[in-house]
Amino acid sequence: MTNDVNEAPMAKPADGESKWYGIILLAALALLIVLGIVMNHGTKTFDPDSPGGHYLQWRTLLGVIVTLGIFSILYRENPIYRFMEHIFIGLATGYSAMYLWFNFVEPKWFDPMMPSSLVHKTTFHEAGQGMWWYCFALLLGLLFFSVYVPRLAWMNRLAIGIILGYVSGAALQMFIGLIAPQITSSFKPPITAYNPGKPLPAGMPFDANNLHIAGSWYFHPFSVVFIVVLLCTMAYFFFSVEHRRNAWMRKPANTGRYLIMITLGAIFGTTVMGRLSLLIARLEFLLASVTGWWHAIFH
């Protein structure tokens, strides 16, 4: 490894590569398939969860190979990583199409459209209903493909317009469903004439956000913090009034910028935790696989 700070970015050209890389990788894939056939040859009944048997070993081997293949990009951009990446895209594409067909298109569109003379009619699956007019859904869906023919591209705009209208019409109710409770719960008075009666925070001798002043009056200092942060953050994103010329907007907006940094820090902290968890899970798999093989070979 070199300590070259000015190294080139990760994405890199196939230009300087040997022309034999493709043949070698495809041959390696073929060899892997042959190995899989050899390992699973003679399996009479397939049980993916069977603890013994060669299938589990084969699946683990595949997992280790593809994981290390993907991790190889950490060293540098290489043909193995790109090969694995393309296999991933191919598998994901095929899987999505297949799953969508069997779990949505076939039970909800194709089977109900077909007549009972062609598809076995069932009471709960809605198959064989003979709803021929469902075919218009396919015809309308074909309008999306007019994007490939420039003269007919207006049909694509028509189809997309309908979809945009559909989503836009539903946007208002989604906004109210999501944001209305947010707005109502933003009203946190700093001083109240009653005890909100919230339970004591776990492990605390007193609730610092519920300070008794006198009589039945209570002061909530954290509510002040909440109001300041909320208003200053909203001021920062409020562009209808120019910040430069208006001190009433400029000062809260500047304060909001600093407070947003704390929010971003929280996001960064939780993101680090989240991303590292993904790596820990992968390394756990690699370790468990290698440990399993070690025990199998040497014990």
């Binding site: 969860d49 699956h125 590292l276 790596l279 899970a281």
Partner: protein
Amino acid sequence: MLHLMQSLDRRWIYLILSIVLIVALIVGKPVKPVVLPSVQSLFDAVEKAPAGPTDGKIILVSTTFANNTIGENGNQARAVFRHLMLRHKRFAVLAVSEPVGAEIGRIIPTSLAKRYGYVYGRDWIDFGYQVGTLAFFKSFPLDIPGNVKVDAVNHKPLDQYEIMRGIKTIQDNVALHIELTASASLFDWMMIVQPMTRPRLKIGYGCTGVMAAEAYPYLDSGQLIGMLPGLKGAADYERLVDELEMRLKPGITADQLSFASIPRISLYHSARYLMFAQNAAHIFVILLIILGNLGMFLTKRQAKPVSKEAAND
């Protein structure tokens, strides 16, 4: 030394990070985390949920995540299912617009069911994969069996199962919904389903660490009853479930609790065990941040005397 610090190749960082995590995974042991209030809230909500065999209600668990977040959501799901089974709560599993989640949502409860004496069709049921369309979210709350029709395991009509007797709407028959997800599917439930119910449907949220910070407003407004943020949330919930199990089964030892290894979906250790590695990783990242900035400050300091001399010339 300073030059080395400033120009360290990132591949050394990758290598050291890998070594730190592998060593932590080898020598690690389950930690006893301080439970977050949001995790405790969800635990209490499950405890109080009227979803026992005679209550006429079920708990809906959404496993809308794929294998890429199995470390976080998978551990959350395992802890939640253990809790539900310990307390004999009846539940239904579904995955909205996530095919792999549908598989995982079947595999985890099936692996745990034998240990807790749970019977499919009587104590739990799998609704499987559902397409997350607007039509689904608008009609599913009003007619659950009408929308799901058949279960995902045996492909039989839902009315043939004991658990589904009397289960019709979310308003009347769902005590709690727990959304374990790595996508934005929670917002569909909050935007469309929750406003349709009075009182508001209780929703618990198990998310990845990345999404945890943005969920706090919904906790405050009451739209979420509790939250499991990433692996930390899974470890906290697991601690609560372990303590509950040890209380309910006095003879059980701590070693016997680490049974729920499910290699099929790469769940080998408990979440609390993995938190040890998370600890190590956090310490490493914090050290990296400090070292990086230290190097920058020292470099600046070294550069200053030179510029002062130049100014005096």
